[in-house]
């Protein structure tokens, strides 16, 4: 193996010149060797134009060593390369994305399917022959108030043999606009709009990358506010999802109670920053909304009322046979599957794969909080339900611990300065769905030449496709809801 690999930590910046360059064959061999270790997974792999060539950037996180391995490779435009995904499935969507965005060919890729640019109606879906088989097409417009995606099932009677998911409907050009829009506030708003339900974690990733490019160290209260906002975001979404899961198994009491329990959390976010989803709460270099003693008291009393009703409802559903029978052993993702597709966050943790950036690559104040990731082994809808319950309990404890050490806020606007030239920065955050990765590269004038966003859903949609195999098609809604993946975060 090429030992000349750069090891960096989450949230750090390096000069582009420090990133080792190798030829594609050793780049591919190095990647395959590194990915052979289960403690490692690819957090970002992308291309960007570099002089007359294209540069491939590989970022592999090592959860055991708590660092990120970075190396690169220059290739000709329009080159045909040997696919690494053919030997390492976790890379398959990255290669398809690079092919789609930059025109490189990956020979031997297992499934050259469009990621986002599919020209609706033109792409030919995977087909299976058989007199007893039928296809069911769903979407892009779904029955609920939900984002668009197309699901194509191949069924034998009621049983799903295969599910193909076509995304891209929400593609609006986030990464392209990140380069085109030059003002910081524009970029901040773009980051907030990557996935509206995860705006805190995405904007934290953006702010971290930006501060790191500028060589700016944010103060303790800024990091404190981001950590608190991120845990509130996790609680609100997990609570809403528990309600939606109850709704999908027609358990109305659970749907109503969890549905209304989300409200005090999002309303608290509004009291704090003026937006129920936390938009506006994270800005590079400073904390725009002071957290006051009054807010602290409000949150403590909101949480006390929330916790009582939340625990009571959880106790009910966790002992309620007609709910449990719909969740138990439905939509299983096996450990090997989660590992092979590079699943992150909930999809991984529910299948026994411990991947949680808060513990493995801590950022903001997580380093001092010693978060023990919640891991379940059964990989089914029940595991994804129980994980949410356990994570909400854990978030309650984290939030209370943070409130014990509340810093003072001056509410002053600050600037991080200007980004350093020819630099590379990377930030991982743990959104409620899982690991978010933002990478930025600046050119000789300090302007952004590449900005890459990776939402956890980029990997985890494949987990949903695998989970429904062998299940009845009528269980698809509950499987889908148990992942609650992001369309906009994937489509960018």
């Amino acid at each position: 193996m090429n030992t000349n690999i750069l090891h960096i930590t989450n949230g750090s910046r390096v000069s582009v010149a420090e990133i080792p360059l190798m030829d594609y064959e050793s780049f591919r061999a190095t990647t395959l060797e590194l990915m052979g270790d289960k403690a490692r997974h690819c957090v970002s792999y992308f291309a960007y134009p570099n002089a007359s060539a294209l540069r491939l950037m590989m970022c592999i996180a090592d959860d055991a060593a708590h660092d990120i391995l970075v190396y690169a490779c220059d290739v000709e435009k329009g080159a045909t390369l040997t696919s690494a995904a053919a030997d390492c499935l976790a890379l398959e969507r990255y290669e398809r994305e690079i092919h789609e965005n930059w025109g490189l060919e990956f020979a031997g890729h297992p499934w050259y399917k469009p990621v986002r640019d599919f020209m609706p109606g033109k792409y030919k879906f995977y087909e299976m022959e058989g007199e007893e088989l039928h296809e069911v097409g769903v979407g892009p417009v779904h029955a609920g108030v939900i984002e668009p995606g197309h699901f194509r099932f191949i069924c034998n009677g009621e049983d799903v043999l295969h599910l193909e998911i076509q995304l891209g409907w929400q593609h609006r050009g986030v990464e392209h606009l990140m380069l085109e829009k030059k003002r910081l506030i524009e970029r901040v708003l773009l980051a907030e709009g990557i996935a509206g339900d995860t705006s805190v974690s995405h904007s934290t990733a953006f702010a971290t990358v930006w501060e790191s490019l500028c060589g700016f160290q944010p103060s303790k209260e800024v990091l404190w506010a981001r950590t608190l906002a991120s845990e509130l975001e996790r609680m609100a979404n997990h609570t809403g999802d528990l309600g939606a899961i109850c709704g999908d198994v027609a358990y109305q009491l659970g749907a109503a109670v969890y549905g209304r329990l989300r409200t005090p959390i999002v309303n608290f976010s509004q009291r704090w920053c003026g937006n129920r989803l936390g938009k506006g709460n994270v800005r590079p270099a400073y904390a725009p909304y002071a957290f006051t003693e009054e807010l602290r008291q409000q949150l403590l009393s909101d949480l006390a009322a929330y916790e009582r009703d939340f625990l009571e409802m959880c106790d009910k559903i966790q002992h309620f046979p007609s709910v449990l029978s719909r969740l138990d052993r439905t939509g299983i993702v096996k450990t090997e599957q989660a590992e092979s597709i590079g699943a992150v966050g909930m999809a991984a943790k529910c299948a026994g794969v411990c991947r949680d950036t808060r513990a493995s690559h801590p950022y903001a104040l997580y380093g001092g909080l010693n978060v023990e990731p919640v891991v379940k082994s059964s990989g089914d809808v029940l595991a994804r339900t129980e994980l949410r319950i356990d994570e909400v309990k854990q978030s309650l404890a984290i939030v209370r611990a943070l409130l014990e050490q509340m810093p003072s806020f001056d509410g002053q606007m600050r600037s991080a300065g200007t980004p350093a030239a020819d630099s590379f920065a990377i930030a991982l955050t743990e959104g409620w769905r899982g690991e978010i990765c933002h990478c930025a590269i600046t050119g000789a004038d300090g302007e952004l030449v590449a900005y890459k966003v990776k939402d956890p859903s980029f990997h985890n949609w494949m987990a949903l496709a695998l989970a429904v195999r062998g299940n009845e098609i009528s269980d698809f809604p509950i499987c889908n809801k148990s992942f609650n993946l992001s369309y906009c975060g994937h489509d960018l």
């Binding site: 108030v145 606009l177 524009e186 509206g196 705006s199 109503a256 209304r260 309303n267 989803l277 009703d309």
Partner: protein, 248 residues
């Protein structure tokens, strides 16, 4: 059974008794008021990430505003976002707030098509179409159906199929990939049918305005019956807008 009853009792009364007068708790960045204080108008306008601030006279276009609060932060004496959630209207120009103005945003009743109040005043079913948004408007629309906001009490609901719907409610800046699906969904609604744009992204494209990955031609060929600004639009903004449109 006893457990369920206990849970039921512990919920108390959750519903908001009167959504027409209900306030959003704490701070809410709603309808802005612009003072007549003299500022460098260009510098003020340049603060805005979406070009929502106009000059001579100074104005803020809520159809473009993402309610990020940057202008208030930089010019605290010039602009203040009030907690007024009633911001929906049927005339695009009414979303433009001028300096010195502090009056509620209302619908122009004369511009409401007569069939809307005749047919939809007791019941309205909408087909929601996401088209390139960030999912936050969808989250708030789902919240309109929870036990607190309870939009269903007014006979207003989201329908699973456009065949059962009285129109479309669009969220997102309308991505090119969704343009055809939006048109087909609209065409599948029986007449009379309405078009509602929910959220700043839908009204103007928001931060994505001008992106080559959008196709907003749907709006060139269809009239809009209601604009609901917000990032995302608050459930109270949505509910009151729909009520104002469909009933006296």
């Amino acid at each position: 059974m006893l457990k369920s009853l206990k849970i039921f009792l512990h919920q108390g009364k959750q519903f908001i008794p009167d959504v027409r007068t209900a306030k959003a708790p704490g701070v809410f960045r709603g309808r802005p008021v612009i003072s007549t204080e003299k500022v460098d108008e260009k510098a003020f306008a340049d603060v805005c990430p979406t070009g929502a601030i106009g000059t001579a006279p100074v104005s803020i276009d809520l159809g473009k505003c993402l309610f990020c609060g940057e202008c208030e932060r930089c010019f605290p004496h010039k602009v203040h976002f009030t907690d007024d959630t009633h911001m929906a209207t049927n005339v695009r120009e009414r979303l433009i707030i001028r300096e010195g103005e502090d009056k509620p945003i209302e619908l122009d009743k004369s511009a409401i098509r007569p069939e809307i109040r005749k047919v939809f005043s007791g019941s309205l079913k909408l087909r929601q179409v996401s088209a390139g948004g960030d999912g936050s408007c969808e989250a708030e629309l789902n919240a309109t159906g929870n036990v607190q906001f309870d939009l269903g009490r007014y006979g207003i609901e989201f329908a699973a199929s456009p065949r059962h719907a009285d129109g479309v409610l669009v969220t997102g800046p309308i991505s090119a990939n969704m343009a055809k699906a939006l048109e087909l969904t609209y065409e599948a609604c029986p007449e009379p049918r309405i078009v509602v744009l929910d959220g700043t992204d839908a009204i103007s494209g928001g931060m994505f305005a001008g992106s080559p990955d959008l196709d907003r031609s749907f709006l060139d060929t269809h009239d809009v019956d209601l604009y609901i600004p917000g990032n995302p639009a608050h459930p109270l903004t949505v509910i009151n807008g729909l009520l104002d449109l469909t009933r006296e």
